[in-house]
Symmetry: C2
Subunit: 202 residues, 2 copies
Amino acid sequence: MSQRDIGYHRHMARWQPDARGRLEAAAFELFRERGFEQTTVADIAARAGLDKRTFYRLFGDKREALFSGSERVEEALVKVVAETDAAPFEAVVAAFRQMAAEIFADRRELVRMRQSIIESSPELQERELRKTGALLAAVTAALRAKGFDETTAILATESGGTVFRVAYARWVSPDSDASLADLIAEVATELSAITSSSPGRR
Amino acid sequence: MSQRDIGYHRHMARWQPDARGRLEAAAFELFRERGFEQTTVADIAARAGLDKRTFYRLFGDKREALFSGSERVEEALVKVVAETDAAPFEAVVAAFRQMAAEIFADRRELVRMRQSIIESSPELQERELRKTGALLAAVTAALRAKGFDETTAILATESGGTVFRVAYARWVSPDSDASLADLIAEVATELSAITSSSPGRR
DNA sequence: CCGAGCGATGTCACGTGGCGACATCACGAG
DNA sequence: CTCGTGATGTCGCCACGTGACATCGCTCGG
């Protein structure tokens, strides 16, 4: 048939290439069409020409099909933090700006669709929190590896994460056209202003 | 019989009082004995002398049995934020300190047990993240109601939340005996130091 | 004193998530 | 050609979570 130089399939579709990618794509489509909860794992597998069981061999979870980019994000973040020799908070902010430019910048519309899926399901929101938590833990570890003490590393990481989340929310919102990196820089200075006031107890 | 002025039960146990509390207690015990995933909802209900279906009428979820205190925490937090007239970040920190004194102070051992359960299960960790997220959203709303703009409210809230999480982690750790309120104050000043540095780009 | 109404519970059945065990297929090496 | 290997399909299972319906025991009006 008109199959390229890729896998083989006779009766149905056995050993087509990139099963993972096809499942991710199928999941993404179905989540948008019917919503996350209305989509069955069997549905996803069927659209990808595979079986439910195969899905679970490639993803730990139904939710995981939506969160496959996180390894790359983590790598990018850790790389910058490890290579930058600035104060911890500044290093984390720089890492987020760099990562935003590398990975998010030219996928704005895709990211918006993905985010709208996530916001439609509490289960997916939970999973996103867990994923970003893991990301931040990796950043904290990278900071610790540079000699900073635990508390400093955590506080810098969490603050940087807060900055990113706020900037990201703005960037994703439909009425924004600034670049994510710029938004991050803006929010970072706003944060500094807020947390550095005098002991103003009345 | 020797039943007090409380409910009735004939064949088994129909209409005993405080079904919710009994289910929470049963869940807590079983999670400690067998672990969260090894415990079945039917097990919990059985230990409480109830049926699986009743559990689901009182809790949305198997996980929810562990997270029932959050309404009280939210109330306490919002109350202080609404009544305090300090800068936003300081107000949030004050709210956490007050809440810690009111609710956590005299339950340290209980909190430690609960936390060890949560840390043993990714599912429970996800749920905890979601719960604290909801808490923080309420605090943000309270700040907004006082006239602060959205970004300021979010940044102050998230920063306060970060401070609390770090202080809480220290307080729960077995080798600490300082009060939670004091730890929060300490961490808050550490955070101010970290996020307020000069634009130190090399 | 009794029957109607009611609220909390139990019972049953079902779809789905997720997983272990085993069968099956296509390939590549010998 | 045969055999092994890795990716897949098939089957069966248990637990989660929910809708529909039955039941219990109280409370209140008659």
